[in-house]
């Protein structure tokens, strides 16, 4: 089998290597209630995309290093100066000035609690998380917004204090590298690859 597609950027251009698409033949769909007449076909499709994180790239790199980065508007002319954002916003949603990056790992460890949650038994295709998925939305004191993530250890409840954990070993460089556990969870209870 030929190389599975991967990419890097050199001189501000994508350099791709390997296969980015895989071909398979369509097959007929027939109506068994109507003498097997042709109704349509299957359409196989398997392809790889390239995706840039742009100005949010530090956030995703940070997760792999055990850091939760947020941002703050420091524009003195902004009506909402000082507002802290998590999710990380590249630009202030009000004045559109470039936000200042903040390491809010300590805030998250000490001042995060569950605003709401949902335990979900189902997932869509391509899901990588264990089911049931415990979605949680985390409110931080002093932060304007409410981050969506998932709880790996403990039972979700509104108001419960939660602590972030990070997939520093074999990270996926996606939002799933960040997860949470209820306060009091021990290091040996964390899922594979995750640490505080």
């Amino acid at each position: 089998m030929s190389l599975y597609g991967n990419a890097k950027v050199k001189n501000w251009r994508y350099k791709i290597k390997g296969n980015f698409h895989f071909s398979h033949s369509p097959s007929p769909i027939r109506n068994v209630n109507d003498n097997g007449h042709l109704l349509g076909i299957t359409k196989p499709r398997h392809m790889i995309y390239l995706h840039s994180y742009g100005g949010e790239a530090p956030f995703f790199e940070g997760l792999s290093q055990g850091k939760l980065l947020g941002t703050r508007c420091d524009n003195p002319g902004c009506e909402y100066k000082g507002t802290i954002y998590q999710p990380y916003r590249i630009y202030c949603p009000d004045c559109l000035a470039r936000c200042t990056e903040l390491d809010m790992t300590e805030t998250a460890k000490n001042r995060g609690y569950i605003h709401t949650f949902m335990t979900c038994e189902r997932s869509g295709a391509f899901n990588t998380l264990d089911k049931p998925i415990k979605f949680i939305n985390i409110e931080f004191e002093g932060v304007s917004t409410i981050l969506m993530s998932y709880l790996s250890v403990g039972e979700p409840k509104i108001g419960t204090r939660v602590i972030p954990i990070f997939k520093k070993i074999d990270p996926s460089y996606t939002i799933t590298d960040l997860s949470w556990v209820v306060e009091g969870t021990q290091a040996d209870q964390l899922p594979d690859g995750f640490s505080f």
Partner: protein
């Protein structure tokens, strides 16, 4: 606390009166493997022509520009599907554009259509919406739907949109529902009602005669929501013809159809619920600030508005729409409504967002019996019947068509043709569906004014369509 400017909160205005002349729709079903999308769109347009006793060619002769609502290109694996439909409907050389705003796509299509006529650009336009969700298995369908969430921050979390949505339901359930069994039963009653009304609708995909216990015993999807609390995935098309007064009267001249005044407004809120920031509650005409002074005391946790329990987009489209059309109190001023019941709980949330009940009291709209065609408590007509089509839970959610289906349903009541459209034996047969022996006419007698809410996913886009018999307006057209 974020604030909005006076410019942002200005009451929208049309430059001239706008009319819904006619409309039509196809059968709705989970899968329609024997027919292409264009065939369903032809069904819808042909029906619209028949209602005003014109041939499709005659009706097409009035259309000047076209608005196509189709949300998910990737479901059908056809980019620019709008151009395919436009071609198959034979509408060259007219300008046309595709509209996509998630679950609100149908409502947004009407919004664009109405503004085009209001501005004077066109005297008559086509708004056509469709969706085809049967070309992938359900789990791939869930993946494709999850692509409507933020792809870096949310979609990788399980690729299941229900999860992103249901956290808001959970918050409402705990703060406003107080996790009471009685509240859970009220949610179940909504599903019983909508599947039950779907039994009277030949277009509907999920007619069911069920009980509250059946809903409470259906499989958990995302607690407290169960399978029967959730809307459908559908295939189907719906269309509407929108025109100025002169053209509307001309199109309808050989029929019993009386063109209806139409207003459409839209609101929005963050695609990522995570980005919601606190604000004061924007008040509707029937609300005063003191109404919510002690909301946090009555419902601990309700103090942060809209938080995760209210939909600002829904509130804002009503905020704009009620002022535009002169609606003061929806329960007093309107006769019939269709809401976007994606889930039973979001149906209740919408009652509050659009002022049918104040925040925190949505459940009483169901518990009072006001939302029924016939109030089960009194045997009298319901005060403001909702979702007599069966809604998204009982009739369909063919995304791009949904907001247009709802509007057509409301128009049926105001035109007084609900029985003719829904009771026709031939239509039941043509759709290979059996008309129930206890079929009941759900016509709201004497309906003059109605409303439809079309809502996207986590509340990112919401539209409010208001229809009125032009002889029963609430506000004079002083500005035209």
């Amino acid at each position: 606390m974020i604030r909005f400017t006076e410019n942002q909160l200005k009451t929208p205005q049309f430059m001239r009166p706008v009319y819904l002349v006619t409309a039509g729709q196809s059968k709705f079903d989970r899968a329609i493997p024997e027919r292409k999308t264009e065939e369903l769109c032809v069904d819808a347009l042909t029906m619209a022509a028949e209602l005003v006793n014109l041939t499709p060619a005659e009706l097409k002769g009035y259309i000047h520009s076209c608005y196509y609502g189709h949300f998910a290109d990737h479901f059908g694996d056809q980019l620019l599907g709008e151009a395919v439909i436009h071609d198959r409907l034979g509408l060259d050389p007219l300008g046309n554009v595709g509209i996509k705003t998630g679950g609100a796509t149908g409502g947004s299509t009407l919004w664009e259509a109405a503004k085009t006529v209001a501005s004077g650009y066109s005297d008559c336009v086509l708004a056509m919406g469709w969706e085809r969700m049967d070309e992938v298995p359900t789990d791939e369908g869930n993946f494709l739907i999850s692509c409507a969430a933020d792809k870096d921050w949310e979609s990788p979390l399980g690729h299941i949109y229900t999860g992103y949505y249901a956290v808001m339901a959970q918050r409402y359930w705990q703060v406003f529902g107080k996790e009471e069994d009685s509240f859970r039963k009220t949610l179940a009653e909504i599903s019983v009602k909508h599947h039950g009304y779907a039994r009277m609708n030949p277009f509907a995909q999920s007619p069911m005669k069920i009980t509250v216990e059946d809903v409470l015993n259906s499989p958990v999807v995302a607690y407290p929501l169960r399978a029967l609390d959730c809307c459908l995935m559908s295939v189907g098309a719906a269309c509407a013809i929108i025109a100025d007064e002169k053209t509307a009267m001309e199109i309808a001249r050989n029929s019993d159809i009386k063109p209806l005044r139409i207003w459409v407004t839209a609101g929005s809120h963050t695609l990522r619920p995570a980005d919601r920031r606190p604000m004061d509650i924007p008040l509707l005409p029937n609300e005063t600030p003191d109404l919510y002074e002690d909301l946090e005391n009555r419902f601990p946790g309700a103090g942060r508005y809209p938080g995760f329990s209210a939909f600002l987009g829904a509130r804002m489209c009503a905020y704009y729409g009620y002022r535009m059309a002169g609606v003061n109190d929806p329960c007093e001023d309107l006769d019939v409504i269709e809401l976007h019941d994606a889930f039973t709980i979001s149906d209740i949330q919408t009652y509050e967002d659009i002022g049918i009940r104040p925040y925190g009291q949505g459940r009483t709209y169901v518990e009072s019996g006001d939302c029924y065609h016939t109030n089960p408590k009194t045997g009298q007509p319901g005060k403001l019947p909702s979702n007599l089509s069966g809604g998204l839970i009982g009739c369909m959610h063919a995304v791009g068509a949904t907001g247009i289906m709802q509007t057509f349903e409301i128009a049926n009541h105001i035109w007084g043709i609900w029985e003719k459209i829904h009771g026709d034996e031939n239509r039941w047969k043509a759709f290979r569906r059996e008309k129930p022996a206890d079929w009941t006419n759900l016509q709201v007698n004497g309906a003059k004014r109605g409303l439809a809410i079309s809502h996207a996913g986590v509340g990112s886009h919401v539209t409010c369509t208001i229809l009125m018999d032009p002889d029963h307006l609430l506000k004079q057209d002083s500005s035209f």
